[in-house]
Symmetry: C2
Subunit: 493 residues, 2 copies
């Protein structure tokens, strides 16, 4: 059932790619070995500590200028290939973290390398457009081939920016402008609004509108997006924030199939709370922002039914519904956008993206375009080079049928991890496609596990308090999954 | 005197480029014609209305997806060269706006095109690093060759991001963290702080610290940077803002040389106001942010003495001093950083950059590095590709002695524009290097002038209410200046 929905939605979005004819490639089978990268390594190989001496030498030099405490190891991308990252010491690791979930189609993907040689790409690189003033002649092609080719249905407008935080902040701005315009009705800005905003005072700078987000949510690290973020205190401490509310994200029990009744009740309670926060708010809520899977906050899931009802509550109360797909978007969950799995009766009002798409921005319903020019605006308004890459990613996903691959390898991984809960300390397997997580008993054991796995040649990241998040590229296949699973078994043995 | 300071500071910064040996090129003279781009057009050529039918056709197609009301015309960058931009209709314009002051060394600069072919550049393009996790092996080279080679003295740390707004917001965050850490003293975060920040409440999310900025200032369009911005109401209306104060930017009379006493008094009054805003503030000021020349707000200048005293006030009151060089930086004023002309006794605390540098970020004093990891952090933390371009820009500025060129052509332009005030409606000539502006009697006349100049083949932008801002590339030479000046004469005739 879910699989057929996934396949349908995949076709719906990918079939809209307007540029090149559909290639008739066979679906990859789980038995396919090295199909996507014939020349990638066949297994990890680690010969030093990680980080090794060469990494450490570079880190120490870099640390003069930049804080390197967060660095796992230094990457030698020229030698990396497909799903394998090579470090400065020549260690070869299977990469299931992929630059914080940001590599879509493998290291040194031939399509990407070929794109780098195209004259139009070189021109865009050497001449960076201010897209709001002088878009390049082929910008509109990129918009169609990258963003419009996979636009959520009914969302035919896109505003492009430089990063995920900027995407969310501009979506929030759009929500505030829309809400204020509705309040104002047909009249133009008045002098009081114009003068007060220049002093950061109401009514021009309204202090009575908010964005409602969820506990454990992550939406970025700038002042507006950080206000909406609530994943970890260390991100937020000491930074002034707006007085915007937080709702409880349903704390489901995993595996979902074993806790259906409990989870239904938890979701119903969460929805009730959201509805009360909206209807009883002293400061009207302009928009609700939510991730399809709370990623940084611990890979917390909710059901399609929850999201449909959340949208319905928003619509009943004239609150915009923003879906933050910065981490979940671009195929990782088995559909191009994770929210496709919800089967919403009507599209979200805005969908934000970045990371795997290389280009950042947000889709919006055309009715949200501000009435005046220069209100959503900045110098670059995105990057033509990254948009061309996004178009290549869309094409590669289509050519290689990567969404089917993600669905199949995701199912395989989820089944095998579930089996592994019987004889290892991992628990709470949850996932959508290959966007999968599990827990260890505590944060210390989780960190030890991640470090041991890296030493064994598998690079993975954590999230939340004690969660391991798998963020393979879309080219991750069954042989890679087997290496991951076998290495986990060795680590726990 | 100023020239010798400029030359000295130029040498100081550029001589620190560590990578390649200094080329012994002769300084360009004003007589040099087409020195930098032997194959660029010799004059503008306009054969259609601007935007012409080809531009309009693309704009109409693009307008389905994106707001095109701000677009001047569509650019054909493949055909553009040096200081000339070619549009979709084949019109050739001398470009004195340069993608909102963001093209440093000319369209299709050979050094840029050559960089695009380098294997390391291609690798960085096809494999986008999460620099906080897996910096590439050559990232540290880029940091040294781009950012450190021109670091303001004493500012040996740099944090890289994706755009100018992000640069300012992260600088503000750094200021708040620093101020809060000083308040807190040696103790760690307490539970009350940790818990309250997750609800966007004090004391964890402090509501009693501010960033002080100036009227007419522009620092970006995200929630924190927009709060500090006060250039135009249309940027700020309907967007919630923090309750941060604004000080009066001295409203000098131009030309500066004719209003010395008046301007001294105006600056003294502005400094007194700043001091009072800081010392009598109910909410302590964490940092002051200021542009060396208020650009978007109308090209407003202040004297080196003003900035030195402003820094002194900040230092006396333990307030950080942030210089926003997003538009003024990277050579446009005749020194690499505009603030070099101030001869500060000690460096600023932070200097933000973007635009012409292609890479964005901010310099900071090492003492401002947060005590804990992951507090200044995001997925990409900048872009290795743009940093490599920044290194190439530094090298090109050195190789071609472009700062001397800017000083010379800037002087030539300022003198000739001053002469032109005698017989045209332009007034209030002011500039630093080739970063020059003048006024027209009102906004309507200014807009008509800009549109007429574009139709005559010279692309210029406006700022403030009635100001024309010249933002030539660093490769703009005397023959280009003559075309600009002659076209202005024709326009006014």
């Amino acid at each position: 059932m879910i699989a057929s929905i996934l396949r349908r939605s995949t076709q719906r979005y990918i079939s809209r790619v307007p540029s090149r004819p559909l290639a008739t490639v066979a679906s990859p089978t789980l038995e396919a070995v090295k199909q996507f990268f014939p020349d990638e390594p066949s297994h990890p190989s680690v010969t030093t500590a990680i980080p090794g001496p060469a990494s450490q030498k570079i880190m120490s030099r870099l640390n003069q200028y930049q804080d390197t405490r967060s660095v796992f190891f230094v990457a030698d991308f020229a030698k990396s290939k497909g799903n394998y990252i090579v470090d400065a010491d020549g260690n070869i690791l299977l990469d299931v973290f992929a630059q914080i979930a940001s590599i879509p189609v493998g290291y040194n993907n031939p399509a990407f390398l070929a794109l780098g040689q195209q004259p139009a790409f070189q021109t865009a690189l050497a001449n960076r457009a201010a897209l709001g003033v002088n878009p390049n002649v082929d910008w509109v092609d990129s918009v169609e081939q990258a963003f419009m080719a996979v636009a959520p249905q009914g969302m035919d407008n896109v505003f492009t920016v430089m990063c995920g935080s900027c995407a969310n902040e501009n979506a929030f701005k759009t929500a505030f402008m829309y809400k204020a315009a509705k309040r104002r009705g047909d009249r133009d800005f008045n002098l009081q609004e114009i003068n007060s905003c220049m002093k950061n005072k109401a009514p021009g700078s309204p202090d009575d509108m908010t964005i409602l987000s969820f506990n454990q949510g992550f939406h970025g690290r700038l002042f507006g997006s950080l206000t909406a973020t609530a994943s970890k205190a260390i991100h937020k401490l000491d930074i002034p924030a707006f007085d915007w509310p937080k709702a409880t994200f349903p704390q489901l029990k995993y595996p979902l199939g074993e806790h259906v009744e409990h989870n239904k009740q938890v979701e119903a309670a969460a929805l009730k709370e959201v509805e009360e926060l909206i209807t009883k708010a002293k400061k009207p809520v302009a928009a609700v922002v939510i991730e399809p899977i709370q990623s940084e906050g611990g890979d917390n899931h909710a059901s399609p039914d929850f999201f449909r009802k959340l949208q319905s509550i928003c619509q009943s109360n004239d609150v915009l519904f923003i879906v933050d797909e910065v981490q979940t978007g671009v195929g990782a969950t088995g559909t191009f956008w994770a929210h496709e799995a919800w089967n919403l009766p009507s599209p979200p009002d805005m969908v934000t993206f970045s990371k795997k798409f290389q280009a950042a921005g947000f889709y919006l319903s055309p009715r949200l375009r501000p009435a005046q020019a220069y209100r959503l605006y900045n110098t670059w308004m995105g990057d033509p080079v990254r948009a061309m890459q996004a178009a290549a990613i869309v094409q590669e996903i289509k050519d290689k049928d990567l969404l089917t691959n993600v669905q199949e390898v995701g199912k395989y991984l989820q089944e095998n991890l579930t089996e592994m809960t019987k004889y290892t300390p991992i628990s709470n397997i949850r996932g959508q496609g290959a966007f999968i997580a599990f827990d260890l008993p505590d944060g210390q054991k989780r960190d030890t596990f991640l470090s041991d796995m890296r030493q064994r040649g598998v690079n993975i990241g954590g999230c939340g308090d004690r969660t391991v998040r798998l963020r393979p590229m879309l080219t991750f296949q069954r042989p890679h999954a087997d290496i991951l699973l076998d290495t986990m078994k060795d680590s726990f043995a």
